[in-house]
């Protein structure tokens, strides 16, 4: 009952957050000292060109009115028209959202359990060989931007040792799962980044849990070590870790943008970097909003799962 109330309130909060996010996105695009028309056309544009574009985008109307019009259209599924392609944005987004989701979910389902397991293993003997090894790799993987790892992987596995394709170039409407070999490198790069972070977070909380008085109670009750870890430590470790993973989704999304650009993978990230180079403001605005919404929903799901895994709060 309590859980249901929590989910309801949390969903309500998400709606409020999304509204604020739409306001912020719109604000950054329209209120910041840069002018949309100049951002689109560049510094070389003549005043006439700028005026024409302003009129086409309806930029001369009052801000509030434009925001409301944009928001109502959004709620009806109309994301506006791309300047670059001259097409409605919504269908463009949806196909790519699916592609990005495949990449992101693949990463998450492989990396999250693996990272938690590595963190626990490292925490069982802090300062031990395994811990130091995992820690060193984690620091390295964390410190390198995704494209550095990605380029090294391309050099190693598709140029020097040509076993995997170095690019996932494809048609946006093609199903990426049809060519699984093109997914291997991008997913591996994303996993590396995630392993680094989540394993170290897990390690820190696991050390804390293992030092807690209730774990001492279990040990002095004669519970075998394996069971102490699995039955006494884990239930207290998982909920906060899952919340952390939810917060980390933001980094996964950032990583997606870079990795998709690197491998020419037709996802939202590639769409937005393309839009940036063509200064396609409506597309940028729509993509940012969509990505923020996905992040918000991911966070919400993580919170709900964490709650469901905390028996004393579920009751």
């Amino acid at each position: 009952m309590q859980a249901l109330g929590f989910i309801l309130r949390r969903t309500l909060l998400l709606a409020v957050v999304l509204l604020v996010v739409s306001l912020l996105t719109f604000g950054i695009v329209n209120v910041l000292p840069g002018d949309v028309a100049t951002a689109v056309l560049g510094d070389m544009a003549t005043p006439e060109q700028a005026a024409a574009l302003r009129e086409r985008l309806g930029l001369d109307e009052p801000l509030a009115q434009r925001y409301l019009a944009w928001l109502t259209a959004l709620l009806q599924g109309d994301f506006g028209t791309s300047l670059q392609h001259g097409q409605p944005i919504a269908p463009l987004l949806m196909g790519r959202l699916g592609n990005s989701a495949i990449l992101g979910l693949l990463t998450l389902t492989i990396a999250a359990p693996l990272a938690v397991a590595l963190g626990i293993v490292a925490a069982l003997r802090p300062g031990g060989l395994l811990d130091r090894l995992i820690g060193a790799i984690a620091v390295g993987a964390y410190a390198l931007p995704e494209y550095v790892i990605g380029l090294l992987a391309i050099l190693a596995f598709s140029i020097w040792l040509p076993v995997l394709p170095g690019t996932s170039l494809m048609d946006p409407n093609e199903n990426p799962l049809a060519r699984p070999e093109a997914l291997v490198l991008p997913v591996c790069v994303l996993i590396t980044g995630m392993l680094a972070f989540i394993s170290q977070i897990t390690r820190a909380s696991m050390i804390q849990v293992m030092a807690s008085p209730y774990v001492r109670t279990a040990i002095l009750k004669g519970v075998p070590f394996r069971r102490v870890v699995l039955k006494h430590a884990l239930p207290n470790l998982l909920p906060p870790t899952i919340t952390e993973i939810g917060m980390y989704l933001g980094y996964v999304i950032g990583g997606l943008v870079v990795v998709e650009t690197l491998f020419s993978y037709a996802g939202l990230g590639q769409l937005v970097t393309n839009a940036v180079s063509y200064r396609d403001v409506p597309v940028i605005q729509a993509t940012v909003l969509l990505v923020a919404a996905a992040y918000g929903i991911g966070n919400l799901l993580a919170d709900v799962v964490a709650l469901l895994l905390t028996p004393r709060l579920r009751a």
Partner: protein, 284 residues
């Protein structure tokens, strides 16, 4: 004892061997930031078509790019647009975060609610996406990139400082100050700030790493820097098309980014260790 971290000023003396690798790398990077351009043997921007795409040699230790520019000189010169940017952004973000976090955490109530809801809204954008949006709208200039990255760091720092302040504010020494009739400013800056300071120092060091990564990623996506500025991320982006015939074009700038961020991570980890902060603050 009471779990309070030792004060920052007591830390400075007594460097231990474990601190050295990180410290050396960071020191080296600082030298590059200051002297980079004057250390470069050749120009970082001038074209030399006769020596295009030459592999590393004695004359060009890191090879040359498609316009015949010396990659070694470009990497040395590129430290400034990458590292200085990251440091400035981290400093700005952490400073804003500290002030807002302290205020929200100590005042509580409506001020806290308002401030933290704004911070939550900023945090509901993935960091890179927010930075990207802001730079695109403000236009490509180093100062805009700094502002954008600082905007990403601000809510995260504010949250950290606030949570520590909320905890400290319930301590009896704060009650003692209040019952003595101290002003709000005295409590915030004379009683609370010294206790938050070690955490801010560590937070700053971690933000510098994140800043390097963010700035390098933005540059790689072609956002915020315009050619021919030799930013490391941009060099990787431009060199990527020649990866099969001239891998040195991506390898050396990649190594520079890796070295810089690993150096700051190592130093930050040592700091955190020294200040006995609980784990989990890493890599934020």
């Amino acid at each position: 004892m009471s779990g309070a971290a030792p004060s920052a000023r007591r830390l400075v003396p007594g460097i231990r061997p474990g601190d050295l690798p990180g410290a050396f790398i960071v020191l080296g990077m600082a030298v590059l930031v200051v002297l980079g351009p004057s250390l470069s043997p050749l120009s970082a921007t001038e074209f030399d078509p006769l020596h295009a795409l030459e592999p590393p040699s004695l004359a060009f230790p890191f090879g040359t790019d498609e316009f015949g520019r010396d990659v070694f000189s470009r990497v040395l010169t590129g430290a400034r647009p990458t590292l200085l940017l990251a440091m400035a952004a981290a400093a700005l973000g952490v400073m804003l975060g500290t002030v807002t976090g302290l205020a929200a955490g100590y005042l509580r109530g409506a001020a806290d609610e308002t401030i933290m809801r704004i911070m939550d809204a900023l945090m509901s954008f993935p960091g890179l996406i927010l930075a990207m949006l802001v730079v695109v709208m403000l236009g490509p200039a180093p100062i805009n990139v700094i502002a954008a990255i600082a905007l990403v760091f601000w809510p995260r720092s504010a949250r950290l400082v606030r949570s520590i302040t909320v905890d400290l504010a319930t301590r009896e020494f704060i009650e003692a100050a209040r019952s003595r009739g101290e002003s709000r400013r005295f409590i915030l800056f004379r009683e609370l700030l010294p206790n938050v300071l070690p955490i801010i120092v560590v937070d700053f060091s971690l933000r510098v790493t994140s800043g390097i990564l963010l700035a390098a990623s933005l540059a790689y996506l072609g956002i915020g820097v315009t050619p021919p500025t030799p930013a490391w991320g941009l060099m990787v982006k431009d060199g990527q098309q020649f990866i099969e015939i001239a891998p040195w074009l991506v390898i050396y700038p990649c190594l520079a980014i890796a070295l810089a961020s690993i150096g700051t991570v190592l130093l930050g980890e040592r700091l955190r260790h020294r200040l006995a902060l609980p784990g989990g603050g890493r890599m934020r």
